[in-house]
């Protein structure tokens, strides 16, 4: 008995007919398709301008960027009682729980407030009725003027990183339109992710800023792949695009799946890693749109015009 095995790579393989149909469709509408990302981009810009004018910043900052105290208390603690009793004495109090992934058992509570560390410790000790030490609690305190400087530097670091990345891209391709396309794709990825994160109301921490930096790396990957394949090889343009798409989408899907799985596992434990993974996930999803709709169209337009 023989089993019929699908050919290698069948998952992403299309029938030749469908391929040709799609190719014709793409030839006809690829310029028009640019309207979709353009509209999203404009909406995002409007949102961000609006956001900035009402919040005075690009993001909601958590205490690692705003200054304040984060205290982790180990053990089972009634979080709603704590919140109702202490919200008067601790400024901008926010709480969350750390629990075991499998048993869902509460392991600790995390308290965030803009009140300085010493005061927080005192208030918590009075509430709990026992002394807090290195065995039953963790404290992280950042002074607000320090964190403001820190935040500014991280923004600078991101900006410089972006500029350096742009220079490298220009050196790689030595041609304005393709380089510019790659760079703007990264920028738009970041912008769209920023909007999504703000809409979700995520309070960005230091780690979140790092995640945006990682996003530069992840989104530039597929853009360089696409641009190199289209610019440097001979052959039918649509076939090259399709080839690049197959490789690129495998890359992005692999990363996405791995990151989402990791995010689910660490989310109950580490706010830091959860936020990094969340930002990269959102960024990668937008990257699919921006690379395979926007960039493909612009590059195709550019290469067709050059002919």
């Amino acid at each position: 008995m023989t089993r019929v095995r699908p050919p290698a790579g069948a998952f992403f393989q299309m029938k030749t007919e469908t391929k040709e149909k799609f190719s014709k469709l793409h030839d006809k509408y690829y310029k028009l398709a640019l309207i979709i990302p353009a509209i999203i981009l404009i909406l995002c810009l409007v949102y961000m301008i609006n956001f900035y004018s009402s919040n005075g910043d690009f993001i909601y900052k958590d205490i690692s960027l705003k200054g304040g105290t984060s205290a982790t208390l180990y053990g089972k603690i009634d979080i709603s009682d704590l919140e109702s009793k202490l919200s008067g004495s601790l400024e901008e109090l926010r709480t969350r729980q750390i629990y075991d992934l499998v048993t869902r058992e509460q392991k600790a509570v995390v308290i965030e407030t803009t009140t300085p560390g010493d005061e927080v410790k005192q208030v918590l000790e009075d509430y709990l009725g026992y002394k807090l030490d290195n065995q039953n609690s963790s404290f992280e305190f950042s002074e607000s003027s320090f964190t403001q400087g820190f935040y500014k530097q991280l923004l600078w670091a991101n900006l410089i990183a972006f500029i350096l990345m742009s220079i490298v891209v220009f050196i790689l391709f030595r041609s304005f339109v393709p380089s510019f396309t790659v760079i703007s794709c990264v920028l738009i990825d970041i912008l769209m992710t920023l909007v999504a994160v703000n809409m979700l109301g995520v309070r960005i921490s230091t780690a979140g800023i790092i995640a945006f930096l990682m996003l530069i790396g992840y989104s530039v990957d597929t853009d360089i792949l696409l641009t190199t394949r289209l610019m440097k090889h001979e052959g039918d343009l649509n076939r090259k695009i399709y080839g690049a798409f197959k490789t690129g989408i495998t890359m992005t899907l692999t990363s996405l799946l791995a990151i989402i799985a990791a995010m689910i596992i660490v989310s109950s434990f580490s706010e830091i890693l959860k936020q990094i993974f969340l930002i990269i996930t959102i960024g990668l999803i937008f990257d699919i749109l921006n690379t395979w709709l926007t960039n493909v169209s612009i590059l195709k337009w550019y290469l067709e015009a050059k002919k």
Partner: protein
């Protein structure tokens, strides 16, 4: 099947990484407990025990773990008399005669040589800077020295004090303490600690070796907790007292000042009209002033004693607070004041309590992520060998990155781990590029196709590395770990694992 030199290179690096992580002989096979700190000025310290030594036997009984350690000392010091304890480390034997258990803390031998950061292993980190003045880097270095000395005098040995600066040119001092943290670390490092003894308005001496203090008694008859009592409301307080020896000059100064004072005659005794008052950071220390007895008038005396008390809800608490207060004062008197007023920019004290759970969840996340990668790759290519190769290379990249981190003594904190993940993710992406290029139905040779893949990979590599450079310098070095591990992971990928992988793919495809 013939392995190419690129594959050999990869295998050698991989083996070296394993050695770097586990050591030779592997640390997880070693028995004993490791000394994580030794209290200075203790009998254990005098006997020669130091941080980092490995204890393998106590009083002839072998020590395999923490349990063995605590059992071996259990009940031994109940009598309160001096007893002999023999401690054998991997290097030699130490004999201690003491009435209390050795003043050391021990921990299990770590299973690997990978150092985890504060957020996983627990400990404290502080960033301090001078208030109101901008310090030069030389001044910052001096200050770091004074702070380190103060922490050492206090009894903390596993301390790292480093001057750091950031993009805007501000200088900070970073203090990192592994393991247990004193309760008032903030006070200990930021308090200027200007100790001054005055009679009336006349300064007699300042804290610090060259400011009038010759030495400070810290143990034995001349220093300790004297008595504990219950207060009326149910709380307790304990008194401490320790001797301070003044320099000749300070003693003479005291004689000069007391010479002109009058004598008050009271039923309790005859004392001079003014007391010896103490000030800490220009604040008068209430209740700590010393009456000066009549016979000291105009006399040169080099020994004075300083008293104080600590209170608490239980006698044990009160005893601890008193001990703490005494230690604080002694430290300040010995080390003198810091040259600047300091402010704390950041102070993190992280408990090691959940560290293991944390590490475990990260490991699980890593394994699951790799499994997801394997699934996608297998579904896409339907080729067992190629998929397995991607998976193996991905795993080995994690191991090599960790090996390099262990070799370079990089502390892996959460951002650094995120960096490792970022590098591995990019690595998997690169391998997909190689695999796809190798399998493309174009007429060019395999060599040519691999070259094409490397153009893409090098392009992506360069953009990512330059993006990490500014982060290395920003924010007082708090994100250095992330930048470093990312760059290490990416670089070794491009130089070692990717070339090896492309050779493996060539072998599989041809």
């Amino acid at each position: 099947m013939k392995l190419t030199w690129k594959i050999w290179l990869f295998l050698v690096v991989f083996a070296l990484a394993l050695i770097s992580i586990f050591g030779i002989p592997p640390t997880f096979l070693q028995k004993g407990v490791i000394i994580s700190s030794v209290e200075s000025n203790s009998s254990a310290f005098d006997a020669g025990l130091r941080q980092g030594q490995t204890i393998i036997a106590i009083d002839g009984k072998s020590i395999n773990n923490l349990d063995d350690f605590s059992k071996s000392l259990e009940g031994k010091y109940l009598s309160g008399e001096k007893v002999k304890t023999s401690i054998i480390t991997t290097q030699s034997e130490f004999i201690i005669y003491s009435e209390k258990s050795p003043e050391i803390t021990v921990s299990e031998i770590p299973k690997t040589r990978i150092k985890t950061g504060l957020d996983l292993s627990g400990g404290s980190r502080a960033l301090v800077r001078a208030q109101d003045v901008k310090l030069s880097s030389a001044e910052t270095n001096d200050l770091a020295g004074v702070i380190e000395n103060r922490l050492n005098v206090y009894g903390l040995t596993d301390v790292k004090v480093t001057p750091v600066s950031d993009l805007s040119g501000d200088n900070y001092i970073k203090i990192e303490i592994a393991g247990a943290t004193p309760r008032d670390l903030g006070k200990l490092i930021s308090e200027q600690g200007k100790f001054e003894a005055k009679i009336g308005n006349e300064s007699v001496f300042l804290g610090g070796k060259d400011q009038g203090v010759a030495s400070v008694a810290r143990s034995g008859q001349q220093a300790g907790i004297e008595s504990c009592q219950q207060q009326s409301q149910g709380s307790y307080f304990c008194n401490f007292r320790f001797s301070v020896y003044l320099s000749e000059a300070a003693a003479k100064r005291q004689a000069d000042v007391t010479r002109t004072l009058e004598v008050n005659r009271t039923p309790q005794g005859n004392y001079l009209s003014k007391k010896l008052d103490f000030y800490l950071d220009d604040k008068f220390l209430e209740g700590k002033s010393l009456l000066i007895s009549e016979d000291l008038k105009g006399r040169v005396t080099t020994q004075i004693s300083i008293e104080g008390s600590g209170s608490g809800a239980t006698q044990q608490d009160a005893y601890k607070t008193a001990e703490q207060e005494m230690k604080d004062l002694q430290t300040i008197l010995i080390t003198g004041s810091l040259p600047y007023k300091l402010e704390i920019s950041k102070l993190d004290t992280i408990s090691p309590t959940l560290g293991d759970d944390f590490t475990n969840s990260i490991l699980i996340a890593g394994v699951v992520a790799l499994f997801c990668v394997a699934c996608v790759i297998f579904i896409k290519y339907r080729k067992f060998k190629s998929s397995l190769a991607i998976l193996c290379i991905g795993t080995s990249e994690i191991i090599i990155t960790l090996g390099i981190a262990a070799f370079l003594d990089i502390n892996l904190d959460l951002p650094a781990i995120a960096g490792v993940l970022a590098a591995i993710g990019t690595g998997v992406n690169d391998q997909i590029v190689i695999l796809d290029e190798a399998r493309r139905n174009v007429t060019s040779s395999m060599r040519e196709r691999i070259k094409n893949a490397f153009q893409i990979i090098m392009g992506a590599y360069l953009t990512l590395v330059v993006a990490m450079i500014p982060l290395y310098f920003a924010g007082a070095g708090l994100l250095k770990g992330f930048a470093l591990t990312t760059v290490i992971g990416l670089t070794l990928g491009v130089l070692i694992t990717r070339p090896a992988f492309s050779d493996i793919v060539k072998m599989i495809e041809e």
